[in-house]
Amino acid sequence: MYACLHAPGNGPLLVECASAFSPHIEQTTPDTVILDARGLEALYGPPPALAREIERRAGVPVSIAIASNPDAAMHAARGIRGVTIIPSGREAEMLAPLPVNLLAGPPEIAELLDLWGIRTFGDFAKLPPLGVAARLGDAGVHLQRLARGEGYRQLRPAEEPLRFEAEMDLDHPVELLEPLSFVLARLLNDLSQRLAAHSLATNELRLRLTLENAPGHAATLKLPVPMLDAHAFLKMLQLDLSSRPPTAAVLKVHLAAEPVKPRRMQRGLFLPAAPEPEKLEMTVARVRHLVGAGNVGTPELNDTHRPDSFSLRGFAPAQPQPNGPNASTAESCHLCLRRFRPPRYSQVLVVNHQPVRVLSPSISGRVVMARGPWRTSGDWWRGDAWNRDEWDVALETGGVFRLFRELDSGRWFIEAAYD
């Protein structure tokens, strides 16, 4: 049994009224709402009593129809003012006087029906079904079933936007990370289960802590791939909190997860193995905890000639291609630099414009080979411009180094070792 409420211009009111009777409601059009009234007899009595109760709750003039299927109720509510109760089996008879344009079929069918002189549901219902099928197709047959009040379908309930949030007020302020972990574990388990129930995962977790006599603490975990592992989330939050602890005792914990579709991928049989993204994220979080956030990642060269200019970004390797290039061997390889960060200040003895001795706390010795200078400069329009002469020197004590002399200050630095 379904009840339909129709009141032009009162859509939100109808939704609120219908929601008071049933959680299963469909807002078919802005001014028409259908609700599933099955089982409401026990609460409100027979359909006329239910209709009266709905009318009373609505508080505005509303057309109400109760029928055995949603479409019959909808057509009756739209076509007949006041309360209409359609007993089961008498749908065709009750709907017969309604104008056929209430069926809201395709325009070409409406035009044909008009040409044939079909004006009401009753006229349309009387047409032979085989003839309707031959002339109007499946759409025509469906409309004729609706005109007879025979259509049956499930309601399409309006879905509210999914929000995955959980929070807990603590009885006593929590100062230590360990007891806080139990609270976080409980909330994360709850969130993970709710996400799993909707076949979803998350790629972003937001933690908000309300602190005692201090501004709140917020942390956001951005995951490179959608995940649904409460243990991994807990470990990552623990690592984050231990590296950046709250400044005061915690009074309230609020967690929110951004719902996304879970990752589905099939790796190729012949591709090289790669770290599992979920496990990798956890490992990188642990490594980050050990060495600091700015010391882990994939190096990316910056588009500049400035020496040693690069940035670090999150490690997210692309899927390898099945037919990668084959190995190549060469008789020699390129020489590499080992950088000193920052460059080491050094004293350099220069004779005849050539460095002859290097003196620094860690690297010292007589120069046995010196090649240079090579002048480089850049970014003169910025405050951090560089302007220097570079030398390659081999020391008697072993080791080949790159030195540079800042032209502005005249100071010498050891920038790197060739290795």
Partner: protein
């Protein structure tokens, strides 16, 4: 099916699938170094699932050899990690050598060798890395020697389980019996042309290898 077709099919299967240890061809378990002389020295490359030590004094080509191996691994689409105890890694040199930086995870331990060991252990245990390099080349010898054999054994065992090639860069041999191969490098001479320093001539000697001998190669600037 003709004999040629059968042989082609067998070669295809051998090249694509992991075979039983007895049937496995050496190419599947070795990672080429990209340097012909070193590949000759090591009979095809460094072993996967084993610890290889590359040691030598400053400017002996240790980093060049390790980055050449890194370049080969990333060229094959493998993910690699460079655990840098002192933060001396130069991304520009690696890119010049052909390393696909997108497949490289760099960890800068800021001079803490103990953290470098821990990070290396974590990364190997995560699995999926084709090559992990632990760079102790600038770590003071005393600190490197303080690393216990148990730690090296743990790393080796983890690499064996994960099937990752593990390389340790250092000044001297530290892992002793835990390493499957030790390559010792020495700088022979510095080559310069006019005002330009052009190359280092490097001598490499392999230890613990049945074809143990010495080869020479150039690290060109």
């Amino acid at each position: 099916m003709s004999l040629t077709a059968v042989l082609q099919l067998r070669a295809e299967i051998e090249s694509r699938f992991e075979l039983a240890p007895g049937l496995r061809s050496p190419e599947r378990t070795l990672l080429p170094t990209g340097i012909e002389a070193i590949d000759r020295l090591t009979a095809g490359g460094i072993a996967r699932g084993q610890l290889t030590e590359i040691c030598g004094p400053q400017s002996s080509g240790r980093t060049a050899l390790a980055i050449s191996i890194l370049s080969e691994a990333t060229r094959r689409g493998e993910c690699c990690a460079w655990v840098d105890a002192t933060g001396a890694f130069d991304p520009a040199s690696a890119a010049q050598m052909g390393v696909d930086l997108d497949r490289l995870l760099w960890v800068n331990c800021g001079g803490n060798a103990e953290n470098a060991l821990k990070c290396c252990d974590l990364l190997i245990q995560a699995g999926g890395f084709g090559l992990v390099v632990i760079d102790l080349a600038d770590t003071p010898e005393a600190d490197a020697r303080r690393i216990s054999l148990a730690s090296w054994f743990r790393l080796r065992h983890a690499a064996e389980r994960a099937g990752s090639a593990l390389i340790a860069l250092s000044r001297r041999v530290n892992a002793q019996s835990c390493s499957a191969l030790q390559i010792e490098l020495r700088r022979q001479r510095t080559i310069a042309k006019g005002r330009l320093f052009t190359a280092l001539a490097i001598e490499a000697e392999s230890r613990k290898h049945f074809r143990s001998r010495t080869v020479e190669f150039l690290a060109v600037r």
